[in-house]
Symmetry: C2
Subunit: 214 residues, 2 copies
């Protein structure tokens, strides 16, 4: 019997890490996406070492746009760009990333990874109570997944600050702040994976100590 470890109840969700969210020719391109590639890679490697459940959340749309949000439906159809359409190169994971055995691919068609998907029942069935979230982009798919996770009573929800991105640093930061205001834990990947140990608080200087003894 495999022993449960301290990470057996925690899943890593990697959201929308697909070519069309990176390629600047795509209408879905997130300007901050390329910059977080190394951090997401580090988070993924750490999750794998810890034996965590890894869920790859991806968008895949009907090329006719029938399952796309209304405000984006005009981008789909014959002769249109059809971003992340099912089976297209743009819907593939960005290069350098692949789904390994035991990991799970979850297809969604809306911002939240929980909306009209089996994600919650999947996580319940696998005993997951805690989530760590990375990917793109902060105000939409990241945030809506986070807020649904709060509503669904996950015990803790962690957003990896430098492994999530938006159209601008300001938008990213504002959304992170809103999420912190509703109890979300926000850390850098090097804090989460333990590769950087926070420095101890500084000791009182000799001067102060002498002063206090006077």
């Amino acid at each position: 019997m495999e022993m449960a470890n301290e990470w057996s109840r925690t899943a890593l969700l990697i959201i929308d890490f697909q070519r069309d969210f990176f390629d600047e020719r795509s209408v879905f391109a997130v300007p901050g996406a390329y910059a977080i590639l190394p951090s997401v890679y580090d988070a993924l490697e750490c999750a794998r070492k810890r034996g965590m459940f890894v869920v790859w959340v991806v968008r895949e749309h009907d090329p006719e746009g029938r399952d796309v949000e209304r405000f984006r439906r005009h981008l789909y159809g014959s002769g249109k760009q059809n971003p992340v359409s099912k089976g297209s190169i743009g819907a593939e994971l960005i290069e350098g990333f692949e789904i390994k055995e035991g990991e799970y691919k979850l297809v969604k068609t809306r911002f939240s990874a929980f909306f009209d998907t089996n994600l919650h029942s999947l996580l319940q069935a696998t005993g997951i109570t805690d989530l760590v979230i990375c990917g793109v982009q902060t105000p939409n798919c990241i945030r809506q997944t986070v807020f649904d996770a709060i509503s669904l009573d996950y015990h803790s929800i962690t957003v990896l600050y430098d492994a999530t991105a938006a159209a601008s640093v300001q938008i990213h930061h504002d959304n992170i702040t809103d999420m912190e205001n509703v109890g979300v834990v926000v850390v850098r990947v090097d804090q989460w994976d333990g590769s950087v140990v926070e420095p101890l608080p500084p000791l009182p200087t000799t001067g102060n100590v002498v002063s206090a003894g006077k």
Copy 2:
């Protein structure tokens, strides 16, 4: 038979307009809430005149906190503040507002008015395709309701800029911008109710016309 008018497919959602979201002694108080009272009143009166379906979305919680989001559960229980708990004065609508005959009270326990409620089936059953949203507060209950409405394919979603509020003007504004970026219509109440007609664009000055004719 009552004739359908141009507003028969549009509902006004007034969100969390309850005492505990106003009273500064409450942990749920939204600092910007009092300032929007007149605008929300105007929007409500306009919706009633137009014969629109009005839905009062309110939070009501178990005094033991069993139906509260985990990050707020510590506020509930014997001797605690128990904000908007069922049957308490704090859960009542803010003074000056009341639910009239034909309007609908919808109780929710999460940010989004759609989460674990009958709102979507109610709106489908009444032929509603368009939503106008006001109340508190912008980054949480307003925004989550809006994003779920997008995901549920409502045809248009309008947020009344001066009839929604947050902890600060900056937070309000940042969240409004994020919502505009996903196709949400944002207008002031006096634009929506027609009490202010936008001025026509300025005519070219005589000087310019003369100049162009040279």
